[in-house]
Amino acid sequence: MRDTSYAAVLSRKNEIMKASLGIDFDAYVSSPVAFDYERMMSETGYALDDIVRIQSETKVGGTPLHELTRLTEAVRATAGPGKGARILVKDEAANASGSFKARRASISAYEAKKRGYAGVIAATSGNYGAGVASQAAMRDLKCIILQEVFDSRGVGQPEIVEKSRACEAYGAEVQRLSVGPELFYVLLRTLEETGFFNASLYTPFGIRGVETLGVEIARQVRERYGKDPDAVVITHAGGGNLTGTARGLLAEGCDGTRIVACSVDLAGLHMASDTDFNRKSFTTGHTGFGVPFATWPDRVDVPRNAARSLRYMDEYQLVSQGEVFYVTELMTKLEGLERGPAGNTSLTAAVTLARQMDRDQVVVVQETEYTGAGKHHNRQLSFARENGIEVRVGDPADNVPGKTIVLPERLEQVRGRVQEMDKLRLSYLKNAAKLHPVEKWTDGDVAFLAADLKKDPAWVRQAVANLA
């Protein structure tokens, strides 16, 4: 019998990954830091048209793009003369399973079926689990979802409890686990036991599936407004949403569109801490994932991550929990649209951006997600109160993650703040240097790192010289 201790299972990581994905990552790797990203993405074997067809078979894509006219008016009332861009939202809640994550799951499920796997597995506490379970149901595949749900008191984060319910509703086996990064260990062990396909969030299949979202936005905005979107705001955690959407926009030729990431600022909370676990009011779309995944993408459950956010990101906005809850409630009342926290995070940044942009410009919030029991701003705030977090109305600048949530009094107080991009890029380079000493970097390595940072090789050389 195989040794199933933590260390033994982790040491078999590479062989388990190869068997459960059928991708030989070694074929793309040229050094400890560099690999042929574009070749890895194109060798999925799917053209964009194939992806559209596959997704249309399983109730994915073709979602509406709504103009939020009353919210736009409200923002214009707080903006300077001539300012206040139109705010649009791509209603991704209309996908099967209620979020854009259905796009991300669809190609993995198709691939798993085509290659004769009996089932699919994903380790995820978010919408992606529901996406995989729903897509697996339609492809007649078995499905296992592994989730980090509860703390050592046995108290589950309400939003994740709702995801457990959704995954079981779609017929999946749901393994609900306590707080800890050992979710990855359980994933490896379960892949080994079952021989199922690894529907990881970070494979080329996952990211390519999101490209159709960018394509649809480009086409819908052009058709209605006769121009490209000026900015697209994307809630950012692991980086797949941003990467896939940006790739789709670029495939449609939207070279001038600003790609803006947005995360909820949870600075100071430790993501692997049992006590901090239920002191967060957001389970994803926050800086606890957004910053580490941007500054080193290859920290995931596959050897090389297809989600590489800094390769596409132009700007990064941070918002507070209180600001997002305020804007969520405002959208509900002004637009008659009740949606979950993920899209409302980028909507919050879009309010700030629209206020700075000209009236004839267009800013697109590229997703919504379903809402319901547990997965609702009222529940997150009442849960925060139950866990000793102060909730009050005031100046959102007084938000302290894990201690105080301040709901703004007025829309003009929704301002967010800017995350400095070069700080992230330098942090990325430091991580690269830890893995592979700078003096060993070849021109090929530098070219890869530059592309991964949306910069040129000269910038990378200069930045590294300054770091030293």
Partner: protein, 92 residues
């Protein structure tokens, strides 16, 4: 009280003892065991608190301690947070 074979139940199992957990965990997490909860159909008549086997929704067998009988979901919209109600109203 005996729970009949075939009943929908929840089990709990310790996946890793504190000493077996991943290195580098924050101290508060490191001192707790890594625990699994899973629902399935009970494979044999048993009492709550006994070690049992269950069959999951996809037919896989899991072992653990019988914790709940006919487990459901009771997550909700929570107690009303009155501060939210004022947002977006035309209040003077």
């Amino acid at each position: 009280m005996s729970v009949a074979r075939g009943t929908w139940v929840e089990i709990e199992a310790t996946v890793l003892q504190p000493s077996e957990r991943a290195p580098g965990l924050p101290e508060d997490t490191a001192r707790t065991p890594y625990v699994l909860r899973l629902s399935g159909f009970l494979e044999e008549d048993a009492e709550v608190g006994q070690e049992v086997r269950v069959k999951s929704l996809i037919g896989r067998t899991h072992r653990g301690v019988l914790r709940l009988v006919n487990p459901g979901y009771d997550h909700s919209f929570g107690a009303t947070v009155p501060e939210l109600l004022h947002i977006g109203l035309r209040e003077s």
